[in-house]
């Protein structure tokens, strides 16, 4: 090994490599990459690199603390014999990237040694892979390298066997962040030509000129010309000076699409108030008026989450976020940062709600698609493949959710080719909060007061996460900033989350609290300053990860796991004592004022001093125009029914990417922690994926929280109105089916749009928002929170170096949250008793537009690719009587099972009901119906139910007017037989379905 006095290496590995299955599993994964060569064996070592002066006895002691003597051996500054390895790789983090393992290791040493490491000492973690490989080509190496390391956050070092032996091991690499000192605040001239101004807005403030004299900019501000004009105007007329770089960066954060939702706020066509106020907030306002005393909303659209009533003593909160752009670049970092970030939207609700359930949703392209995409021309800057993205985002939510002790019960996985350039990663958290604190304060209300200290707590600030907010407001290109990528640290967050929610809140130790998300403290402090009318911050007091950061970087950094609190000076000593004893770092960085200004200084120098009012409301409102987008709908030529192999189509449906078992994800997520799960992600002994989960948050109360989600991206391609309306109907019906009353259901909206400057895309957006209003108002289900992400486009190059643009299908995710009065009402979709009657409740449905069946037929080349069919349209008013009738039966406990029909139609409902407990069924199809359309259409508003024989007549009477078809009976054995007009049209078995259902993701 290359010795270096600057540091030491501790390498830990299994004495018996048979016990370390990671190597074996990795070998399979690497060989599955499609290498020309072959990898015969892989084994691993964990490495801790110690920077600074450590005595040999200290290193020995460290080794004893970090390894497990029962199974591990170790080497200190030694060389592990490479055995038969032909090549050795080491993967570690780049300087400044969050290294949680190293952080815990340093804490363990500090615990044992009674003092933290010295300032010039540090620990870094890395992994060494020993590969015994044959015939690896250059291309193979590239594939392996890209699989094992993400160049945006990790370094990868290769050594051939000979070099490894000659060099005596891998090199000692110390990834310390070294920044040039003495960065100052500067003024920015806005009186510049328009082209220069545009470059400033798009690519950022000029940082310096490189050796070739080329300008290097700081990264996107995402400010358009009218906004820059307003800023120039304000500074020249009101402040009578140029803005500082920090002020401009702060304005860019505060005014970003990500934070201010400029498109949803803009005047749009005839909608002076804009989409958000007219359709989303408008729906909620109207519903709350109609409901009067029965209003369930308590805090909507004003806080980090929305809140509805749970019972007399508690509220439940809910919030769903997206983390799409970061997840495209580093899927693991993007999704873990997303989930722990939305957890903070719960802790930051009111005076602090306790996170009790996580939600997730992943939209990706076909994971078997290996056709490469590049962000830059000439085959440079390759985008991650769909499979790699999927694996990474699944891992991120697992680590974030599990480590935080929050059950991750509710989720989905959806595929569409449009998600190839940029995945959609939805993350959400439900919280529980007592209506009043022990001190008698209403816990959903809060206000910073002039004179309160500004306190930041949690993690420290670094260069990671700069320009996150402005970056997600732009489309993804080759120049997307790597500093936007971060890795979450759930344990740091868990420590302060517990301290706040379980202790400080009840002791009334702060006046206000909010999360540090997009824009970092520049947004959180300025946002809280509105509550009292001003703030004064001393920026040098903000704890940083390393020296040398510029003032503007400290102010806008989005380094994770931080909260901002307003604390009365007399409460601070008690709060500080509590936080220190809980291992949480907390610092006073200034105070809230009533000056009307946002004032920031750095080492005594004023770096920001401007009107709070302009900072928050100075942005010129956009006025946007839409243009109708012609529908792709057309008539569909279906194959002759006589030629269809109905059994193959039926069984094949269960193996489709969107409908097959995704249990490999839900079983990696702890859905049981906190001990409240009563309807789990999988149903029955057959472990069939559910669509709704139910959690009983208080162990002594029979009340429960029911959650569901729905989206129809395939319908969006044809009709965004139908996509939104159907998603709302499905999300609501999912909750009705488990026994939740319609009167206690609320909705959350997440719009993930594309090319939002395009008037046709804006028209689709408007249609979508109109559907949200019209459908929600009929059901009486208010929106309580929402978020939009407007530029989910990828522009880059294909393998032939042709320019390609891939946009996500306009996607609206509807998340529903409901409160069940008693878990006794709960039912699943599992058929439970042979002889039970099966009914289809609800009517309508011949259109196949956007359905899985149509895509299946296209994949089988039975329908032309250009045949889109017609969209199933429905009137929610017409469905209400059915839903009201259904609720009477769920309240009485008369159903044995319910399945709300959605993707895959009746076919999927029948198959999943059967697979759940292994029962078969017989079915008689109406003679007037075409069998495939009857089975596979996805018309909304319908349920498949099973009931005891004796209940049949009551069902037929109650539902006769709304559509009620008696389909058949549950059968003891696992046989599935469907008749039509006395003939068998389809015959299969639960075993065959289960095989198809489980095979698609078997190797994941």
């Amino acid at each position: 090994m290359n010795r270096n006095n600057a540091g030491h290496r501790l390498e830990i590995f299994f004495r018996d490599s048979e016990l370390d299955t990671r190597g074996l599993l990795l070998q399979d994964k690497l060989n599955a990459l499609g290498l020309s060569g072959v990898i015969n064996q892989v084994w691993l070592s964990e490495v801790y690199t110690f920077e600074g002066d450590f005595s040999s006895s200290r290193l020995q002691a460290a080794a004893a603390l970090l390894l497990n003597p029962v199974v591990h051996d170790c080497l200190i500054d030694g060389v592990r014999p490479p055995g038969a390895a032909t090549v050795v790789l080491e993967v570690g983090f780049l300087p400044g990237v969050t290294d949680n393992i190293a952080h815990s290791a340093a804490e363990t040493l500090a615990d044992a040694w009674g003092a933290p490491l010295a300032a010039d000492q540090a620990i870094y973690s890395s992994t060494i892979y020993y590969l015994q490989a044959v015939n690896l080509t250059v291309a193979d190496r590239r594939l392996i390298g890209r699989f094992l390391a993400n160049g945006l956050i990790q370094r990868l070092n290769w050594k051939e066997r000979a070099a490894y032996l000659a060099d005596q091991g891998m090199d000692l690499i110390i990834p310390r962040v070294r920044l040039a000192a003495g960065k100052k605040v500067s003024l920015v001239d806005l009186e510049i030509p328009e082209t220069e101004l545009m470059a400033l807005g798009k690519e950022g403030i000029i940082d310096h000129y490189d050796d070739l004299g080329k300008v290097v900019r700081r990264g996107p501000l995402a400010l358009d010309l009218p906004s820059l004009g307003a800023i120039a105007d304000y500074f020249s007329k009101v402040e009578k000076r140029q803005p500082t770089d920090l002020e401009l960066e702060a304005l860019a954060q505060t005014w970003s699409e990500h934070c201010k939702h400029t498109i949803f706020a803009a005047a749009l066509d005839d909608l002076e108030e804009g989409l958000y106020k007219t359709y989303i907030k408008g729906a909620t306002r109207k519903i709350r008026q109609m409901r009067g005393a029965d209003d369930i909303c308590v805090s909507v659209f004003v806080d980090n989450s929305g809140a509805i009533s749970f019972d007399d003593e508690y509220l439940v909160t809910d919030k769903v976020e997206t983390h799409n752009s970061p997840s495209a670049l580093d899927p693991f970092g993007g999704s873990i940062t997303g989930i722990v970030g939305v957890n903070r939207d719960t802790v930051g609700f009111g005076l602090g709600a306790k996170p009790i359930i996580n939600r997730y949703g992943f939209c990706v392209a076909d994971p078997t698609d290996c056709e490469p995409l590049y962000r830059s021309p000439g085959g440079v800057n390759q985008a991650l493949r769909p499979r790699r993205i999927l694996d990474g985002i699944v891992d991120g939510v697992r680590v974030g959710g599990n480590c935080s002790g929050i059950p991750t019960t509710q989720g989905f996985l959806t595929f569409h080719p449009g998600y190839k350039g940029k995945p959609l990663v939805f993350v959400g958290t439900v919280g529980l909060i007592p209506r009043k604190t022990a001190a008698g304060r209403l816990s959903h209300e809060k206000a910073a007061r002039a004179g309160d200290y500004i306190v930041v707590l949690g993690g420290r600030v670094g260069l990671d996460g700069i320009h996150g907010a402005t970056f997600s407001s732009e489309a993804l290109t080759g120049g997307s900033p790597a500093t936007a990528v971060q890795i979450g640290d759930p344990i740091t967050q868990k420590k302060f989350s517990d301290a706040i929610v379980k202790e400080a809140r009840q002791r009334n130790l702060y006046s206000s609290i909010t999360d540090n998300g997009a824009g970092g403290i520049s947004c959180s402090v300025a946002e809280m300053a509105r509550e009292c009318g001003g703030c004064r911050v001393e920026l040098e007091k903000v704890p940083v990860k390393y020296p040398g950061m510029a003032p503007w970087e400290i102010w806008i950094s989005e380094s994770q796991e931080r909260m901002t609190l307003a604390v009365a000076p007399e409460k601070w000593p008690e709060l500080e004592r509590l936080l220190v004893s809980r291992g949480v770092e907390a610092t006073v960085i200034g105070e809230f004022t009533d000056s009307g200004r946002c004032q920031v200084s750095f080492q005594g120098e004023t770096v920001m001093d401007m009107d709070l009012e302009f900072l928050h409301n100075g942005q010129p409102r956009k006025r946007l125009l839409t243009r109708m987008r012609p529908s792709q709908e057309n008539s569909l030529t279906l194959p002759d029914p006589g030629t269809l192999a109905l059994e193959d189509l039926f069984v094949g449906l269960f193996g489709r990417l969107n409908l097959a078992s995704h249990a490999y994800i839900s079983t990696q997520y702890d859905f049981e922690v906190q001990g409240g799960s009563v309807l789990k992600p999988q149903v029955g002994r057959g472990q069939v994926d559910g669509f709704t989960t139910v959690v009983q948050p208080l162990p002594q109360s029979a009340k429960a929280v029911a959650l569901s989600q729905s989206l129809y991206p395939a319908l969006s391609d044809l009709d965004t109105y139908a996509a939104a309306a159907t998603a709302i109907d499905t999300a609501v019906r999912n909750l009705l089916a488990v026994g939740t009353p319609l009167s206690h259901i609320a909705l959350l909206d997440n719009f993930c749009w594309c090319s939002s400057d395009d008037p046709e895309r804006l028209w689709q957006l408007k249609e979508c928002a109109r559907a949200c209003y019209e459908t929600a108002v009929v059901y009486g289900t208010p929106f309580i929170s929402g978020k939009d992400s407007m530029y989910n486009d990828f522009s880059g190059y294909d393998s032939q170096d042709r320019k390609v643009t891939i946009s996500v299908p306009p996607t609206i995710l509807i998340s529903a949250i409901g409160v069940m009065p008693d878990i006794k009402r709960l039912r699943s979709f599992a058929f439970v008793k042979p002889g039970d009657l099966l009914y289809l409740l609800g009517s309508g449905g011949a259109e196949l537009g956007g359905s899985e069946y149509l895509n299946l037929l296209k994949d089988e080349k039975l329908v032309a690719a250009g045949d889109w069919g017609r969209v199933p349209k429905f009137a929610p008013q017409a469905l209400l009587p059915l839903y009201n009738s259904l609720q009477k039966f769920t309240a009485a406990g008369d159903f044995r099972s319910l399945y709300p029909l959605a993707q895959g139609g009746l076919a999927l409902a029948l198959g999943k009901g059967a697979m759940a407990e292994g029962f078969g069924f017989t079915l008689e199809m109406p003679t007037a119906e075409r069998a495939d359309i009857f089975l596979f259409n996805e018309y909304p508003g319908r349920f498949l139910v099973s009931v005891a024989l004796a209940v049949g007549p009551a069902i037929e009477k109650a539902f006769a007017d709304y559509g009620c078809i008696r389909l058949g009976q549950v059968q003891e054995d696992g046989e599935i037989v469907m008749h039509q007009g006395g003939e068998i049209v389809l015959q299969t078995s639960v075993t065959k379905l289960s095989t198809a259902y489980r095979s698609t993701f078997a190797g994941y």
Partner: protein, 267 residues
């Protein structure tokens, strides 16, 4: 009857303390959730309790090996008090991450009935190299574990990334002889899993899911009995209701007996 007092540890990523405390309360014990730093600041308070619990969770994010970092911290700060606690006629329970902590502390399995402190077995990464959250079946071994009195079979959920039990062959033989293996993973037919996934969810040697020591007074298990405390916890709860709409959700679940045994030990 004496009402035992239970101290449940929290902090640094422990996350099952509330539902575990509830399980003890519902069985008649008094409980206190105490932050590890508060216990370190006043370790003498351990003497006020009869049952010491390290609940499940993710202490230190499982970094440097699950349970390792918290065990190190406790060894350096609480060892004399823990030894005094164990020497008295008290109970110690470690669930999931708590079990990992007890193993790393050397409280399980221990060298003899009253010598502790060396690590003799390990709970390492699951054979699937993946976190597994699923319900498993368990057979009680020939054991003296106080917590398993009257138990022959249990169905409980597991949720862990590092639950694969390993012991050197001579240690395993010794554990069997000393009746320290407490639970083994089983299949749906209540037969030993013989290492097959998913019945044995992590690849544990000899299907070991739980250990005990000190005449059965120290007990650690990978599954979570507090998550199977009542009928509504069962995965088949909705189907139970479908068959009998009058089912009572508060009826005992399979995990409850573990807490009842602990509380009744002091009666």
């Amino acid at each position: 009857m004496v009402q035992p007092k239970v101290l449940l540890l929290t902090g640094y990523g422990i996350n099952c303390e509330e539902e575990t405390a509830y399980a003890f309360q519902a069985c008649g014990a008094r409980t206190a959730i105490v932050h590890v730093n508060d216990l370190i600041a006043a370790p003498g308070q351990l003497g006020d309790y009869q049952i010491f619990v390290v609940p499940g969770g993710f202490s230190y994010g499982d970094d440097t090996g699950s349970g390792n970092a918290l065990a190190n911290k406790m060894r350096h700060t609480l060892w004399p008090e823990l030894m005094a606690f164990v020497a008295a006629d008290h109970l110690v329970l470690g669930i999931c991450n708590g079990f990992q902590v007890l193993v790393n502390l050397g409280l399980l399995p221990g060298a003899t009935d009253n010598t502790f402190g060396s690590r003799r077995v390990a709970l390492i990464a699951n054979r699937t190299a993946r976190y597994e959250c699923r319900w498993v079946n368990l057979l009680a071994a020939e054991t003296d574990a106080v917590f398993l009195r009257g138990v022959s079979f249990l169905s409980l959920p597991v949720a862990h990334g590092e639950g694969r039990f390993y012991a050197p062959p001579e240690t395993l033989t010794e554990l069997k002889q000393r009746r320290q293996i407490a639970l083994r993973y089983a299949d749906a037919e209540k037969l030993p899993a013989h290492g097959s996934f998913p019945a044995n969810p992590n690849g544990s040697l000899d299907d070991v899911a739980a250990l005990c020591a000190a005449q059965g007074r120290i007990f650690g298990l990978m599954p979570h009995p507090e998550r199977a405390f009542r009928l509504s916890h069962l995965p088949e709860w909705p189907q139970i209701l479908a068959r009998n709409p009058d089912s009572d959700w508060q009826q005992p679940g399979p995990g409850r007996i573990i807490f009842e045994n602990a509380v009744n030990y002091f009666s």
